[in-house]
Amino acid sequence: MMIHRLIIFVVLVCNLQCYAKKIQFNQSIKPILSNNCFSCHGPDEKEIKGGLQLHLRETATSVLEKSGERAISPGDREESSLWHRINSTDPDDQMPPPESNHKLTREEIDLIGQWIDEGAEYQRHWSFEPIEPIEGTIDELIESKLKEAGLNPSPKASKDILIRRLYLDLTGLPPSQVAIETFAKDNSSDAYEKLVDQLINSKTFAERLAVNWLDAARYADTNGYSIDDHRDMWIWRDWVVSAFLENKPYDQFALEQIAGDLIPKSSTQQKVATGFLRNSMNTHEGGTIPEEYRVTYTADKVDTVSTVFMGLTMKCAQCHDHKYDPITQKEYYQFFAFFNTSSEPGSGAINANTAPLIEAESNLCSIERVKRDANNRINELRQKRVTPEIHLTNLRNQWEKKTLDSLSKQRPNSKNKKNSLIIDNSVKWIWSTKEGDSAYAKFRRAFNLEKAPKSASMWFTCDNECKILINGNHIASLDDWTKPKTIEINNLKKGKNTIEVEANNVAGSKAGLILSLQVLDSSNETISIVTNSEWKSQTQKNNQSEWKEAFEIANYGDSPWGAIYQTGESKSFDENLFSALNTPTKKRNTTHWNKINDSFSAVSGAFKIYINQLNLEEKAIKKTAETGKSTVMVMNYKPRKTHILIRGAYDQHGEEVSTGIPSALPPVKSEPGQTLTRLDLAKWLINPKHPLTSRVIVNRYWQMIFGTGLVKTAEDFGAQGEYPSHPVLLDRLAKDFVASGWDLQKLIKRIVMSETYQQESKLRKSSSSKDPYNRLLSRSPRFRLDAEFVRDSALFASGLLDLEIGGPSVYPYQPKGLWADVSHYGYPSGFTSQKYLPGSGQSNYRRSMYTVWKRTSPPPSMTIFDAPNRETCVVRRLQTNTPMQALVLQNDPQFLEAAASLGNIMSAESSIMEGINIGFMRTLGRTAQENELRILSSSFKEYIKTFENKPENAVSLIRAGQSYNPKIKDPKTVAAWTLVASTLLNMDEFVTRQ
């Protein structure tokens, strides 16, 4: 313990020496005041205690009414009541007060004292200040800070490290062996630059940039709230990738996403861009108050736009003035008003996109390609009818066997033809009104028997009760609709017969009658009478109304009555079912399968739900399969008044406001009386003089490449955000970025061309004690790849990755049941995206960014590696290192299949050493070292022995995925290589950019 404390003390002192030379308000004082004082003495007018506001020099230094003292007397701490209060130990006097749970450290108190003595100069919040022209390159500005701290940069990293770093940072994939060898051989002075140019112009680069943007834009394939059914926003996602691919200037990129619909004569793709705003979650849960949610969706747009483009936490001002930043609640709602003008409803569409929407083509792939993908998906879904999930297949097999046995016995021949009842979905629930909602109904069905009846039986039930008359005789009544009756009928005659039913309903519930009558006549022919629209009905007693055709409300087995009221197997002989079941599985056609599945659905609830899900999913993608296009949700303009919402409550309207910009930010140019629109807002954001837009985005690309931004809190450039580690560098990059025409490729190239970027990442003790977080960049950082790139890299290394770009989202392997566990799977009316229906073939090997994203159950191998759930805007992923991640790399079938595939590649080499080396090249971009060779080759030999003892284990292991080739000649060798490959894929170095 003593040792720990001692060292902490040393580190703190050092940090103070590094940063406490000259007291700057923004850097040193404001964070202390903001964290500890502003909640009572800050911008929120309603919360001010003792009349003191410390966020402005004017109010902080004026004489306080109550005490006649000054909180801050510039130049003299002893004359400043603040100084005495923060030093006090008297609980009544002490600041911050004990109950606040805030406490200043001695160092913080001394800093404030020194700052007061030095004149208590305030500075405007740094990120709101204009960006001034500055001199210096990245390396000069980094090095000057290093020098101040007494540190040196690290030496340049080796070529093999550099190429792997570049590939991972810029494309999210490791380099291929060919690329590594080409780069190693290229001794020209611009070899590195050529490589950078090549990568920046690649499709994989565009996809890599898109991944971060999808987080920021909370992109997903489901609606998010409650039922969380599917939506189609991939056309927008393709727009994003194509924008990065063509290097669309960032100002245009922003403009189109915020207001593409309002650009005069806007193109379809410019409208598609506004899908950015429509990525908000939505709901159609019953009981929703639409206006409440319409407000929520609008607030989400405010949060997203302010965070993504300005690094401002505007959402904090939704219910009250911002506690730390100069944003009043009124200003919040003025900003809100920009987005409050769309026809988007509060209650979303079911199983579909919610208006306003347009139909559009992908900007990235051809109509033919999209049609092909959608049709492949439909075929996958259809195949699932033939081979459903294993437990359903087992259930169906049992039923098939039993049913075929029983049908074979029943199969009629001329000798033993018996009477039997038809109870299947050809029998309908009927009522006298379309909705089944009248209180009374009378039914009539007349039919002719050409020959004398030998016997007859009838099955029926009615919701809620009924009385049945045949040829005028009352023969049966029923008052519990959950207990259908089967009775023998004896009073039928040759010639005309009539069935009449008088039925009653309970007010407010849905009514229905269902009946099946079979008559066996003297020549052994069966005549069937079942309830359907051939029946007549009327709604009045005493036959006062007209007899009309009865309405078919539902098939037997359908909701709301369902199949649970079955009376056992159908007693009639079903020739079609018999012949379908009698056909060997491999020879069955679609008609056979449909007949079998329909019949099994009528008796198995689980199977019926499954088939219903398949139907819904097919329906959802059918249009795309036909047209090669998809709808996408977009913005439109519909004037609407905006009010301040008191305490943020959707129904508590305060003062009416119109669109406007917070006064702390540069004003927007407008004519008097002009109402500003979203287009004006977008143009204001991309004005080159805007202090936030360029700083915020430049910082995020710095963060993408170095793991941490120059401002660590990439999501917050306000008072509670972090002061930049290199404010001058940040401004320099932002200024040049705007001057370059907001050229992202140029910005990224500039960063990776720097010497700072090309340093080694080895941790040096001298610098780690002075700069434990490596914020000064005395070495290149080392950090784990983002979730998507961990999986993509494994697929790439194993030769499985399919680099096709864009298109509808895909369904790769996922543990069974994850969606169904947390969804409305099995809900009677049915919703899309309630059960994960894995794809086949190439959909398992596409880049992870194309994996379908369900917000209430995102892909586990992504969230375990810290991907956000895409419910709200995220511009900074936090990194963790947990045992769950090791389990994914070891046991996830996707990674096992990758190992098996890589193992197969390694097994083709002529020696163990070459096998190991090819594995190293493909995964780590280098050859193995002696120790590594020794460890792995000895294990390899051991594995071979293990599999020789148990050859069946070898086959089970390498059969991990769909790509398994059963013709592999020597499974035990491939299996042994698979284990070596799996070890490589589990190495820290494999998942790390270093």
Binding site: K765, H824, Q885
Partner: protein, 278 residues
């Protein structure tokens, strides 16, 4: 409201481990991490980043969220008056302007409804409980019933999001994440906390419990719950794949530890050490 300033998990880890590394203590085994964690159980406040600055009183938190239980009026929330008012129009003073859901807004009358079965005082504490929960009544003195809970949310999704995260609008950390963030853990070998859900048999689950309810919101993802599902394989990816026996797995893990150690010697990055420990 910015908690992110105070936390940067990997940086904290670096710091903590750097310190140990520099003080000459060898790293690279589970023992090291349990040593670190052992600090947390000692009675002193050690001020190490990532651990709470105060001693946690609670050792464990078990939180059960029973989605779709009977109403408080039927179980614990006793009122003499409700029986008298049964069947009459709900007084405005009770509703207090509370908004109605899209489902109830169409009703012509809002009637008071008494509990379906009588209430009794149970235990020495005299806690009111329905006769329908006789066994819970037997342990009345061991539990605390809080009857003052209130919600602004009037629908399933926002309602269960509110009770589990404190806000009906998604994006906030769940109760478990806060417990993990605020109290830390005495065991670095286990997930921050685990989540058991009772659904998952493929039948219609009514109101499902979705991942947001145990998510970490804006806290680092190490504070998110690890889902243990019902059935034979509760933890995702825990089981060895077919064809890999324990002894083989052991060998692979030993190799991996050695290979990672080689790399650690090159880079001295403490994150590698964490991966070795796993």
């Amino acid at each position: 409201m910015n908690f992110l300033n105070n936390i940067n998990s990997s940086a904290d880890l670096i710091n903590r481990r750097c310190l140990l590394g520099q003080s000459g203590i060898a790293l690279g085994s589970l023992a090291a991490s349990s040593m670190l964690r052992a600090d947390n159980t000692s009675s002193t406040n050690n001020g190490i980043p990532g651990l709470p600055h105060f001693e946690a009183k609670a050792k464990r938190v078990i939180y059960m969220f029973q989605s779709g239980g009977p109403s408080h009026i039927d179980l614990f929330d006793h009122s003499d008056k409700i029986n008298k008012l049964h069947g009459t129009e709900l007084p405005d003073s009770v509703r207090g302007g509370q908004r109605l859901t899209g489902m109830t807004a169409g009703l012509k009358k809002l009637l008071v409804c008494a509990p379906v079965s009588p209430m009794k005082k149970r235990g020495n504490s005299g806690t009111w409980m329905s006769e329908m929960v006789p066994y819970t009544g037997d342990i009345a003195d061991k539990i605390t019933v809080i009857n003052s809970m209130h919600t602004d949310a009037i629908n399933h999704d926002p309602g269960i999001t509110l009770i589990n995260t404190g806000s009906q609008i998604p994006g906030r950390p769940s109760l478990g994440s806060w417990a993990s963030y605020g109290l830390g853990s005495t065991n670095s070998n286990m997930p921050a906390y685990i989540v058991l859900i009772s659904q998952g048999n493929g039948k219609n689950p009514g109101q499902p419990i979705f991942s947001r309810l145990w998510g970490s919101g804006f806290l680092p993802s190490q504070h998110q719950g690890v889902l243990m599902r019902s059935g034979k394989n509760p933890l995702l990816y825990l089981n060895d794949p077919p064809g890999i026996e324990r002894s083989t797995r052991r060998r692979m893990l030993d190799d991996l530890a050695q290979l990672n150690k080689e790399n650690y010697q090159k880079f001295e990055d403490p994150e590698i050490e964490t991966r070795i420990a796993q």
